[in-house]
């Protein structure tokens, strides 16, 4: 395992952030993880404490009220939180996903009105894009935004699988001014809980990340002031894509945390568990499994950090963030599955907290762009870069 102090590729403040996140995760996040999963309870008090620590705004620039960490620093924190509880990491990731577009596209007035409470962890954020017939095909959303005579907008439609809802107070909602216009009609809005005409539908009953709620949002003639439109009319698709590119890196980091947790627990267990006159770790088949798990973790971490560093340098993210998220979520699923296998019946027990890693990892292969979509994004980038020159 990489020691916190010896990773010299990180800056001193990144190492201290990593150590602090690890310390907090081990002492404050891990102990309640199994119970929160069982009871499907979002723990508001824990989120408050993450806010006081400053994790709710870690990579937001200092000028906008955040801590001003690099995105690489953010991924270090995400890995540590997810190593303790993926559901808390996803809540944080979504919270950030709903803030970063405001940082990038918000007016000074919008930033002032929207960000401080979110940075402090007093208001929880959510990112509302997905609809019943628009998942990975985000351009197909049908939630309508109509401009009224007074300049405000009227929202009508239904969003599903919106993480952090209904607990979140602040929603970044994507709606279309013209369903026939495809991407060009999509516009982003800042919507507060309590807005008349905005209510919650059913809460999803999930396989994993159960302590991070997800719910339907229903808009029925909900009036959103013109001052709450983020960016230009028709600028929403670009905002969503950019946010998702960053969000995928966050999820990749969290998946690395799941895989790391599974590897650590399995490596300790096979040395302690005796069978046929010795520890399991003396069996070559078991040793091969441990090595393969370590390889998956290392690859996931390396790609995640490469993607985060690309973001810090302001480079295009589509391909590298897809590679990171696809690799890390597959790694989390495989390593968690192998860890359960090595633990045997103990791993299959819900009390061990190990099968939870499998259930939590599975979701990450599906959300923030299914891993099939990421194959398409990567293929598209590779083929476009190569052109037909390669065949000559």
């Amino acid at each position: 395992m990489l020691s916190v102090q010896t990773d010299r590729s990180l800056t001193e403040e990144e190492r201290l952030l990593q150590a602090t996140a690890r310390d907090f995760a081990e002492r404050e996040v891990a102990p309640g993880a199994v119970e929160r999963d069982e009871t499907e309870q979002f723990d508001r008090r824990l989120f408050d404490r993450l806010g006081r620590l400053g994790l709710t705004g870690a990579p937001i620039p200092e000028a906008d009220g955040g801590a001003g960490f690099s995105y690489l620093g953010w991924t270090l924190a995400m890995e540590e939180i997810a190593r303790a509880d993926m559901a808390v990491a996803v809540t944080l990731s979504v919270h950030l996903l709903s803030q970063l577009p405001v940082v990038q596209w918000g007016t000074a007035e919008q930033k002032e009105r929207w960000l401080p409470a979110m940075l402090a962890g007093e208001a929880l954020g959510a990112f509302a894009l997905t609809e019943p017939s628009a998942g990975s095909d985000a351009a197909a959303i049908r939630t309508r935004a109509e401009r009224r005579a007074d300049g405000d907008y009227r929202l009508d439609g239904t969003k599903i699988w919106i993480s952090n809802a209904p607990d979140a107070e602040r929603y970044l909602v994507f709606a279309t001014l013209d369903p026939s216009a495809g991407r060009a009609g999509i516009t982003a809005f800042l919507v507060e809980k309590g807005t008349p005409g905005f209510r919650f539908g059913r809460k999803e009953r999930k396989m994993g990340i159960r302590a991070c709620p997800a719910s339907e949002l229903i808009f029925e003639e909900a009036v959103v002031p013109a001052a709450n439109r983020l960016g230009e009319e028709g600028g929403g698709y670009r905002i969503a894509l950019s946010a998702l590119g960053e969000g995928r890196i966050s999820i990749a980091a969290a998946c690395t945390g799941i895989a790391q947790a599974a590897l650590e627990r399995a490596a300790a267990y096979v040395q302690q568990r005796q069978a046929f006159g010795g520890p399991l770790s003396e069996q070559e088949g078991v040793r091969f499994m441990v090595a393969e798990m370590a390889r998956e973790v290392a690859a996931a971490r390396a790609l995640t950090r490469a993607a985060a560093s690309a973001r810090d340098r302001g480079e295009p993210l589509a391909e590298v963030s897809s590679l990171a998220k696809w690799t890390a979520s597959d790694a989390a699923m495989r390593v968690a599955t192998d860890a359960v296998q090595l633990f045997g019946a103990q791993g299959y027990s819900r009390e061990s907290g190990l099968e939870r890693l499998m259930r939590d990892a599975k979701g990450a292969q599906i959300y923030e762009g299914s891993n099939q979509i990421h194959r398409l994004i990567v293929a598209d980038a590779v083929l476009r870069r190569t052109g037909s020159a390669g065949s000559a």
Binding site: Q5, E12, E13, L16, L53, G54, L55, A67, F69
Partner: protein, 261 residues
């Protein structure tokens, strides 16, 4: 109010300690952390500062290797204002008395009203350095403080005792050794971590403090490590599992069988 907190980098006890050829901990091979009890002393300092509405300057005083600033940085991230590190190649292998002499000399170069220290360190476990410094500096020494209060001219502590606590008061400047009952150390906030980057850690050598290397360093050590061996492994542990009433019966029977009860 000027508060100095004694802070020692110690090997992270959650890792695998390794001994060097001199039978001392190989500090280069093991990640360093703030001595846990020193974090309580810093927490006490931060709470005293907050009780005064922020009217206090907190200095971390460390004797340690050249890499010590990385460990001290966490203390600055928690809220201390600056650091003073005494580091010198001659200090390797220094004994508790030498450490006290060096830190007393360093204190002499600072202006302060109160010095806070932890009960002992997780590597040395001597628990004598703070008392020795107080003696060398002629400071009132208030030990095992469970609670600390400050006025502008005096410090008052509740010293834990087997029967409860004693109320002690001393004029400033004074040395106070705090226990873990002063309150759990805070996590450094992310903004605190960023702010710590620009806080100053001043480094001083023995010569800077007017000390001769042959008087306080490893060469002048009053103690030597003669032998080192791992503790004997404990006998096999028996764990009793089951519903509380039956488990309790099993434990009672086990103890009765050995005439412990």
């Amino acid at each position: 109010m000027r508060i100095v907190v004694l802070l020692k980098p110690v090997p992270d006890t959650t890792g695998q300690e390794r001994l060097g050829p001199d039978l001392r901990v190989d500090r280069a091979a093991v990640p360093a952390v703030i001595n846990p009890n020193d974090e309580y002393a810093l927490e006490a300092a931060l709470r005293l500062m907050e009780a005064r509405g922020g009217d206090a300057a907190i200095t971390l005083l460390t004797m340690g290797p050249p890499a010590a600033p990385e460990t001290m940085r966490k203390g600055l991230a928690m809220g201390a204002h600056r650091g003073l590190l005494v580091t010198d190649p001659a200090l390797g292998g220094a004994c508790s008395l030498s450490t006290a002499r060096v830190l007393a000399a360093a204190l002499g170069s600072l202006e302060f009203d109160l010095v806070l220290a932890g009960v002992d360190t997780s590597d040395g476990r001597g628990g004598v350095v703070a008392a020795a410094i107080a003696s060398l500096c002629g400071l009132p020494y208030l030990s095992y403080a469970g609670q600390v209060e400050l006025t502008d001219t005096a410090v008052r502590v509740r010293r834990l005792s087997p029967r409860g606590y004693d109320l002690l008061e001393a004029p400033l400047p004074a040395m106070v050794v705090v226990t873990q009952t002063v309150g759990e150390p805070r996590y450094p906030s992310l903004k605190g971590i960023m702010a710590a980057r620009s806080k100053e850690i001043v480094t001083r050598s023995l010569a800077d403090l007017g000390l001769a290397a042959d008087g306080v360093g490893g060469a002048a050590a009053t103690t030597r490590v003669l032998e080192s061996r791992p503790p004997a492994s404990r006998a096999a542990t028996r764990v009793v599992r089951g519903p509380a009433p039956e488990a309790a019966e099993a434990v009672v029977a086990f103890l009765a069988e050995r005439r412990v009860i």
